[in-house]
């Protein structure tokens, strides 16, 4: 979790494709790369803090949620059930459904992490959230192997999320409709940036089409929140069954 894997990273240069390491400059670099998004995360955390106050949560409850759970969608979903007869089973079911995507996301990081020991692998995904996962994986596809990118960007978002929540619960009364200020589209915009800001690859056209259709179908007919997993699985499956020559083995 600390630093100093650099030397080993150098020694293993021959297999640059599979070796991962972690050092302080990498963490710092990840932190800086995530700063623009972290600024928006503060605003988003603020929206959560405000909503929490409006739902009658104590300040410490909101802060503890943001610190330990660190996931906007499940925290917002939990607010609706936060009353004296809070149903824990329903809460757990909804949260599991929301978090199925994180299973796929950490699975996608596995090729990067697989040379580490199990304890280190588990530590690396501690602060994995949607946006820093997307950014770090994009860097990985461009040849980055320093896990500080993942960890540092996670630290930036985590800190921003906690800070935003703190500001929100402290000055909560002032803002009543976060959507009027465009706060609810931050995640949407960020993901679109991740998808189209790099080099969208043509081989992804079919998987993305399948993902869109599967997600919309699941959104329509399946219980809430499962559409993300369905879309992800559909996209992956289409990429596997596509003819080999069209599937661009020269990835990035």
């Amino acid at each position: 979790m600390t630093r100093g894997r650099h030397a080993r990273g150098m020694m293993m240069k021959r297999q640059a494709n599979s070796e991962a390491w972690l050092d302080a400059p990498g963490i710092w670099r990840g932190l800086l790369m995530m700063m623009p998004v972290a600024a928006f995360t503060v605003a988003f955390g603020l929206a959560f803090g405000v909503a929490a106050v409006h739902h009658g949560l104590a300040d410490w409850e909101a802060m503890l949620l943001s610190t330990l759970v660190f996931s906007a969608p499940s925290q917002f979903a939990a607010l609706d059930m936060w009353h004296s007869s809070m149903p824990l089973l329903a809460l757990a079911t909804v949260t599991v459904a929301i978090h199925t995507r994180h299973m796929l996301m950490s699975a996608a990081l596995y090729p990067w992490l697989h040379t580490l020991g199990r304890g280190r692998q588990f530590a690396m995904v501690l602060l994995m959230s949607d946006s820093n996962w997307a950014m770090a994986l994009g860097q990985y596809h461009r040849g980055e192997r320093n896990l500080g990118i993942l960890l540092g960007s996670g630290i930036a978002l985590w800190g921003a999320w906690i800070l935003g929540t703190l500001v929100g619960v402290t000055f909560g009364g002032g803002i009543s409709q976060p959507e009027r200020y465009g706060l609810d589209v931050i995640m949407l915009c960020f993901f679109l940036m991740m998808l189209f800001g790099g080099r969208p690859r043509l081989v992804m056209a079919m998987p993305w089409l399948a993902a869109t259709l599967a997600a919309l179908a699941a959104y329509h007919w399946l219980p809430p929140y499962l559409h993300i997993m369905m879309g992800g699985l559909a996209g992956g499956l289409v990429a596997v069954v596509m003819p080999r020559n069209r599937a661009g083995e020269s990835a990035s």
């Binding site: 949260t95 990081l109 589209v185 559909a234």
Partner: protein, 100 residues
């Protein structure tokens, strides 16, 4: 407003935290059982961006005009200038302006 008792709230927060972290660990555990061949690589590669597609598709299709305008503005800026700050900022401004 009726609030849950202290233990009830702590239990709920613990439950959420365990599920949130458990799902991240579970993905790694599943993958450690699967041999990393080219097919699995291709699956994981396409799956990772497809997850993002699956998140944004319903937001755009079932979102209001503000969300759609934000999506359009962000995508155009992302493709043309590749600046995250500008793309996300303009997206937010577009949504706020539409709803004014």
């Amino acid at each position: 407003m009726n609030s849950p008792s202290l233990w009830h709230a702590l239990l709920a927060i613990g439950l959420l935290a365990a599920i949130a972290y458990g799902s991240r660990v579970l993905g790694l555990l599943v993958m450690s059982r699967v041999p990393l061949g080219p097919k699995v690589q291709r699956f994981v590669d396409a799956m990772s961006t497809s997850v993002l597609i699956a998140i944004v598709a319903p937001l755009i299709v079932y979102g209001d005009g503000g969300a759609r305008l934000a999506a359009l503005a962000t995508t155009l800026v992302a493709i043309l200038w590749r600046s995250p700050l500008l793309a996300i900022g303009l997206g937010m401004v577009a949504a706020a302006a539409w709803r004014w």
